[in-house]
Amino acid sequence: MKCSRCKKLACVALPSHNAGFCPECFPLFFTRQVETAIRREKMFTLDERILVALSGGKDSLALMLELKLQGYNVTGLHIDLGIPDSSWKARKKVEDFCEKNELQLQVFEMEKWGLPICDVKEFVDRPVCAVCGKLKRHIFNKVALEGGYDALATGHNLDDEVARLFANTLRWDTAYLSDQGPVLPASGGFVRKVKPLFRLSEFETANYAFLKGIEIHSDPCPYSSGASFTNHKQLWGELEYRSPGQKFQFYNGFLQRGKQAFAALEKEIGADVKPCEECGSPTSVGRCSICRIKESVATKKAAAQAGK
């Protein structure tokens, strides 16, 4: 296969774009897709300060590097979850990557904040992944607001977005369907959230990461099975194989024609959001779930220690 741009030997074949690219041209294709996403969705400008959530996975690191190469003012934020034998590896990977590429990095330690995820696992009677996800979103938002950032960027790619949209469609989760998308404008205590990789598939990000020397292998979270999303991704991989471009059509069709209907419905039936009585974060229930989780873990932990 030849490169669609320069006719040299291609290294990546993209059926959904009916194209192939060589090692020099593929990163240009990637850059164009990110530029288009930022421009069309009015994500942010060169004058704004962007906080980039860095998990240590290939997508977040690829995003950080690409935004920096495009000249944006980016700072990385890594959350050290405080999971024994696991979190330090992700942290080290992010720290090494940022040092090597001269990227600004901030690390937030859950343990110092009083709530390492290992305590959540031990003392909270709910699936640890759901609570951990909630805590991470809370902290990303908190750090972005306190640091005066204009936007929070995450490395979600097209496959992540499609898998999530699909899961929410299967449940007809109107609250979720009303505000899913590549840009969530700032509102009532929430910073603007953007997903500049939403036009790019996981396959495209993986190729970019490989060509840019980003180490892809990441240790999966010891608490997560990752099962349901992975199943949906497999299913979509098969659909995409049969009709290339289907993934993007499904997601883009939702943004163009589906989302507004759910937003209108949610405006009628959705809950009002007010600042949390304790920490000021937006919530629909007086005291936010984060503050309640923190208190409950502290109480149970103290009781467990007294009983020893």
Binding site: M1, A10, C11, V12, A13, L14, P15, S16, G20, P23, S55, G57, K58, D59, D159, S201, E202, F203, T205, A206, N207, F210, L211, I216, H217, S218, P220, C221, S224, G226, T230, K233, Q234, G237, E238, E240, Y241
Partner: protein
């Protein structure tokens, strides 16, 4: 024989009679846009021919988290 290193599983397998990247993917029952394939640090498209003694890296692109 072609030696295939599967990631992230860390498994190593040997395949006979696989003369192209596509043939390897078919034997592994994976679609071409769900893995990246590299030989000696070079990414390969599915149509690329393979030779006896080649060592391939086949890495799933779906992140677990």
């Amino acid at each position: 024989m072609v030696t295939v290193h599967l990631e992230p599983d860390g498994e190593v397998i040997e395949l006979a009679n696989t003369k192209s990247v596509l043939a390897v993917l078919n034997r592994l029952k994976v679609r071409s846009t769900m893995v990246i394939v590299a030989r000696d640090g070079e990414l390969l498209t599915p149509d690329r021919k393979l030779h006896m003694g080649d060592t391939l890296l086949v890495r799933k692109v779906t992140s677990a988290g």
